[in-house]
Symmetry: D2
Subunit: 285 residues, 4 copies
């Protein structure tokens, strides 16, 4: 689970066919790489193969040669692969509004080293969370919404994301609906936390919806952004038991813990390269 | 939690007003009844009061006098109450189709005394589960559906229910949509198990819906029947974690356990008189 | 669950006998107090009665008269009661060492109003967590341990606690064994978080013990301090699934979340006056 | 998760060294076997490698040649492997006393095909559960304990096990302590369900121990038998929340469900060849 500090990660996926595992494992062996964890899954319904390997490299390991060799071998399989070095820490931009529980939780986990990422910017449509970001020595960008020109605000947000070199965007209770253009730009590399167990209670005020329905469980869903509101591929879900005595504000309070844990779990999976897109679903190895 | 064998149950509900608790507790005290567990809840949003008391009675307890006295006191509150004697075991009719996991589980729990009920009939639109019912010495009624006359089959079902003197009907994976008339007849005293975490995945084949959506959790919902399909007041819900490697048949297998546990829990709450209707929600004390 | 801002809490316990409920509810009624939630439990094995009531008071409510009246009525029952006003926020001292996850979580919950308490001091045997306390504007006391005179350090700790007027002490991963004297002083009003599911893995390094044992679940236990190490009455427990791939450091990471949630839950119960001591067990209403 | 009906399983383990994955995957590829799921784990603390592969075989697959080839290749690694054909159903002997919940559950899961095993005998020190076994058309052996000659009874039990050709023995709440000799004979291929979350509450009456300790969670542990009472390698654990209102009999009732689910899960893992012994721990792939 926890990688030793000298461990690389290799992930790949391609259409299902004979030899997909072997092409990866043989290359690793011939490059004298020591495999510490290997998980592959061949989806018999979608006809797609997914593999994730953690490994240590020998002295004198040549990353470029490794990549070139694997590209050559795997070409016939239509395989796309990614290789991540042990010391790689992805740059991350976090988008927030006024609620700070997820931001507080993510920054805490970065601070103690549980999430190996570098949060390079916090972006918000409100000024409220600036002190929290600054205490963690992270730049905070407040771009107020102009109701007459929402695209203007999104352009500023996108500029920060692009100039920061971010590899991951986290919507940590960002309470604005993104435009289709921004969704398209973030497709597959932005994680949103929705405060319900999707597909139940899409849209606004899910805890109030849950209260009115009288459910006995509330949950949260971390998913990738795509074009459909609250419909992107699900990465992780969390749930807690509630009862009749939970008024909407109690569901909201209970929900905060679930949202924090579920979002942190999804971000961890993403950073550890455990998540693969499989049409509108995910494979988490 | 477990009642001692000499314990009575009193439940009541009425509009919220000053004195609702006192009217019950004072009567119990004056009748020299010994309260072992008391739980009351005043819903500040719906403006309704709910109370459930377990108690032991003194020697020479006069049930009729107790009822008459409480009726007199509580009349001014518009309070409806129910009193259940220690040895009361409700008669129950179970409706099934072909899947037997919930039936097997309910009959087992009756057999070992965990559910203090008397299943007086099993009714089905298929003959398959007759041996299981008979091994438990319970009459089995097979009423095949006539596609040209569905009401005819429902009339037979209803006749069994009515002649049995049943106080509770359990739809233990009965795979037919009930007619509005039958729903109306069963409103509030029939429990259905739906194999999803409502309100997600209403209707048919919820596990296939869940697979297609790529959820990371599946669940089940036990609810009272009312006029809306899969929309009656929720009594209990259960949930389990799943992942990408769960094909629809795996979700179904996992779901069986959740359905059994959730339905048994709801039936237990109902039998122990813990469930109150509160508009389209339930209060479970 | 969440109290409206004008809600009082009354708790009481006494030996089991006829009339315990009535004495409380009748007094509330006669004082024209409006009961919003009432839960009482009569333990048939220990022969002890516990009651907790939330209520609103009428205009012109006279707290002293209420207390005096209830004391008079309840005297014959040997009943000890507590009455808590709506705006009461207990003063709390938190004790820590180097690990900051529980402290961070508790201060966050205080800050957003989820835990209605006033942390008046953080006390530690290490200087590390001072910046975290100061960011929340809370005084931090660093009392280093003198190996040759441990009692000296405890005396300083106790002095802070006493001078602060604290009603609750929280040991949020304080990694020193308390002396029997200090335990005795804190008996029943100090909550400790132990990082295992007691009674399994008492003592030091429970996650390493858990790893060596190969358990498939790890947990945490929040309990009151008493004279026995890790043996005080349990208030709350939390648990998570783990597997063979969790090395000790993974169990520790997973444990942090469980510890935070379990400790916060126990503190919430305590502040809401839900916890009663029942010999070496607790009743949580 | 669910194997397609034509899927084989290969498992192996050996000391950690370079090439362990490749030796398996290359052989599978050269034999034109199609890998559908592959999971391997290299334990960096114990220095041991574990691998489990599910695969489909080509037309004309020669099992003997496959085995011989893999044995030759893997010899240098000190690798022990097992190969399981798609239609293999292990023979199982279940040992019980008077409690029937686990037996009922296991036989049900066999009957509906969820556990792909053939229960060939039920053995007990009491006659009570014979009707349940017979309804499932399974021979029942009642061997009463002679207090003056316990070994005599164990010899009869062992004879049934051996003559049945069983590959797995399940102690489904068998309430006798096994002799060291019998433990030795069953070491690694007999699964016991203990009704607590080990290592808490070893030995007799764990639910009463749990009640006295006032725990807020109860659990069950499925583990392999070895020489130490309740100390064999843990395969699966389950847990449920309880509270002060659960008397010992309520813990027992709640425990029944946890025991059934936990035991069935462990048996399923064993049958699907997911469990590897790793000193006194297990790896579950």
């Amino acid at each position: 689970m926890s990688r030793a500090p000298d461990t690389w990660i290799l992930t790949a996926d391609c259409p299902s066919m004979l030899g997909t595992v072997d092409v990866v494992t043989r290359h690793l062996y011939e490059q004298r790489c020591y495999v510490t964890e290997h998980h592959s899954f061949d989806d018999r319904l979608s006809g797609r193969f997914f593999i994730r390997v953690e490994f240590r490299v020998p002295d004198g390991f040549d990353e470029d040669a490794f990549r070139a060799g694997l590209a050559e071998r795997s070409g016939a399989f239509g395989m796309a692969f990614e290789l991540v070095a042990p010391n790689h820490r992805p740059k991350v931009v976090i988008m927030v509004s006024k609620a700070d529980h997820c931001l507080n939780d993510l920054l805490y986990r970065q601070r103690i080293g549980q999430l190996a990422m570098d949060v390079v910017a916090v972006v918000s449509n409100h000024p409220d969370l600036e002190p929290l970001a600054h205490w963690h020595k992270i730049p905070y960008y407040h771009f107020a919404l102009d109701p007459n020109d929402k695209p203007a605000q999104e352009r500023k947000v996108l500029q920060v994301i692009e100039e920061s070199g971010a590899e991951l965007v986290i919507l940590a209770r960002y309470m604005q609906v993104l435009s289709p253009e921004l969704c398209r730009r973030l497709d597959g590399w932005a994680i949103n936390i929705h405060h319900s167990l999707l597909p139940g209670f899409k849209g606004a005020k899910p805890y109030h919806q849950a209260y009115n329905k009288g459910v006995k469980m509330v949950g949260a869903t971390a998913h990738y952004i795509n074009n459909d509101l609250d419909e992107g591929p699900i990465i992780a879900q969390g749930v807690e038991v509630v009862d009749h005595a939970h008024y909407p504000e109690d569901l909201i309070a209970k929900g905060r813990d679930i949202e924090c844990l579920t979002l942190a779990r999804a971000v961890g999976y993403h950073i550890e390269r455990r998540v693969f897109l499989n049409a509108n679903r995910t494979v988490v190895l």
